[in-house]
């Protein structure tokens, strides 16, 4: 059999852009699923992926990755390496597995949508590999934490988390359902692969792999590396897609899709990665602060990339830059206070040395956030753990906590002023909370109890043991039943519907 080089046959083999005889274009590529009708069908033929791979090469690469990674896991599982990891790092991976494993599988739905409804054969070909990638990522990131169950019982949150109505999961699911699952192929290309993967997670996975090796977590480092190399390949779908849009006068639509999802990705990214980098990762293993990471990898490189295409900074860019210095610090205080409601063991990460590091990386940290930790630390030293635990619910916004810069409240007050101009009944936060409160706080449901949630051992530093009792929901502690979770889910669906309606209006 003659051995042809790939370039001799690649374009011909992948070209399945057939002329339809028995159906029309709209039937094959319904707008709701494809989203590509803004551009003429023939214009999509110019879609060309910069990194090409054949199925034979793909399978060879993936087998090699799996063999290496699973072999390493087998070897490590017979050692005491995991036991010796810093508790803060264990928080990083437990949080990661719960929040990311299932979305990886959900991303395979998004990739499959592009694999079927992408308007170009080259795009569909690339997305098919992406589908296989994401199925692998979902499986491997569930298999690995399940292998840790005898040492880390909360590894089962990798599968369980997205089947709960945990408030962090609501926030993550709300984002990823909109981005991966309830989205059209065009928007997925720009929002999942271009904005989230190219902008945030691909770079994050590079950093996490390096950090994992640095702290001695060879298993997680190998896992993340094997995933990141897939991401780097299938994330390239965004670039040719935005190029086709711009070349055909649809730059504004591309800009809107990116602006929309960049902001939402940032908020979740700050919650998951900001806390991991600046508080959970052992001090000696921190290579850079979260702010430095975002400035170097997102602000400079990603922003340069999309500006190369003639796109502008998102209209809220100044607010985003402003938030780099405070948002995740406020979130960290909130998550730590509400720690019985999350599935990982939030490491306070505010020892004397860590506070010095935080002040160096974030000048003014002690003035804005250290003073809160002073009060908390005093309560812990007095043994008053109950004073470090919540007795009421935080206000959340879609549904990330409405955090504030240590009481300055500039962003929140701006939002409040904006909503204040609307009739009260139409303010989104009020509308959603009222719906919940009609049930939750109706006098017939009984008064809120002020009994503190169950005390938990170890409040500060790295001495918090992992135990199966961790993660008792504050809703239950406050006397609510499972119905509160179902109501939260309904609220999430309502928010999603509102988002889709706004999106449709724009179109």
């Amino acid at each position: 059999m003659p051995q042809l080089s790939r370039s001799d046959w690649y374009d011909l083999a992948r070209d399945t852009n057939w002329a339809f005889r028995y159906v029309d274009e709209e039937e094959v590529f319904p707008e709701a699923l494809s989203g590509t009708s803004r551009v003429p069908a023939e214009a999509w033929l110019k879609w060309d992926e910069p990194y090409k791979v054949t199925y034979r090469e793909y399978v060879h690469n993936q087998v090699t990755k799996d063999t290496t990674t699973y072999s390493l896991k087998n070897a490590v599982s017979r050692s005491k390496l995991f036991d010796q990891l810093d508790p803060g790092w264990k928080s990083v991976i437990v949080a990661h597995y719960g929040a990311i494993s299932m979305p990886e599988y959900l991303a395979s739905i998004g990739e499959a949508r592009m694999g079927r409804f992408g308007r170009s054969a080259a795009w569909r070909n690339t997305a098919t590999f992406g589908t296989l990638d994401e199925i692998r990522h979902g499986q491997i990131q569930t298999f690995f934490p399940y292998g840790l169950l005898d040492k880390e019982p909360r590894g089962d949150w990798a599968l369980k988390a997205f089947h709960t109505n945990n408030w962090i999961i609501l926030a993550v699911r709300y984002l990823f359902d909109d981005m991966f699952v309830a989205n059209d192929a065009l928007s997925i290309a720009l929002q999942l692969t271009f904005t989230l993967e190219t902008g945030f997670t691909n770079l994050q996975f590079l950093g996490m792999a390096a950090d994992a090796i640095d702290v001695g977590d060879l298993e997680f480092g190998s896992l993340i590396s094997s995933i990141q190399t897939d991401e780097a390949r299938h994330a390239q779908q965004g670039e040719p897609t935005i190029k086709v849009l711009i070349d055909n006068g649809e730059k504004e639509w591309g800009q809107f899709l990116i602006d929309h999802m960049f902001w939402r990705s940032w908020r979740i990214f700050a919650l998951l990665t900001g806390l991991s980098m600046d508080y959970y990762t052992p001090l000696e293993s921190r290579r850079m602060s979260f702010k430095e990471f975002i400035e170097d990898w997102v602000v400079k490189q990603f922003a340069d990339q999309f500006r190369d295409y003639g796109l502008e900074f998102p209209w809220y860019w100044d607010e985003f830059i402003n938030e780099l210095t405070w948002y995740h610090h406020a979130i960290h205080l909130g998550v730590w206070n509400y720690r019985p409601t999350v599935w990982w063991n939030p490491d306070a990460g505010v020892s004397e040395a860590e506070r010095l590091w935080l002040e160096e990386k974030y000048p003014g940290w002690n003035r804005h956030f250290g003073r809160h930790w002073d009060v908390i630390t005093e309560n812990v030293r007095k043994g008053d753990i109950a004073a470090t635990l919540p007795e009421t619910l935080p206000i959340t916004c879609k549904p990330v906590p409405a955090a504030d810069r240590a009481g300055r409240g500039r962003a929140r007050r701006r939002t409040h002023r904006r909503h204040a101009a609307e009739p009260r009944a139409q303010r989104p936060q009020v509308r959603l909370l009222l719906r919940a409160l009609q049930v939750d706080l109706h006098p017939a449901a009984g008064p809120l109890r002020r009994t503190p949630v169950a005390d938990r051992p170890g409040a500060l530093g790295r001495d918090q043991p992992a135990g199966p009792g961790h993660g008792v929901g504050v809703l239950r502690a406050l006397g609510r039943g499972a119905g509160a979770g179902r109501r939260q889910l309904r609220m999430g669906r309502q928010q999603r519907d509102e988002g889709l309606n706004r999106w449709r209006c724009y179109r």
Partner: protein, 81 residues
């Protein structure tokens, strides 16, 4: 006598909280209810009175919260006077 859930923040704190009160409670009692979740927990205690601000207006401590024009889920701010 009716439940009045409020969206509240204590000046200097980082979190916005859900604070359920009664519309017959005094403004002073509402300030204390907000402080219960914040002062000595994340914000250091001070031996000074706590006041309440609503839509930019500082409320009379002895006024009934329901009569002060504060509606369900309105945002209120408690602060050290």
């Amino acid at each position: 006598m009716a439940l009045l859930p409020l969206s509240a923040q204590f000046e200097g704190d980082v979190l916005e909280l859900l604070i359920p009160v009664d519309d017959e409670d005094t403004v002073e009692a509402v300030g204390a209810a907000i402080a219960h979740h914040v002062v000595g927990r994340r914000v250091a205690a001070q031996d000074v009175p706590i006041r309440l601000r609503h839509n930019g207006r500082v409320l009379d401590p002895q006024e009934r919260i329901g009569a002060a024009g504060v509606a369900p889920l309105d945002h209120v701010e408690a602060f050290y006077a």
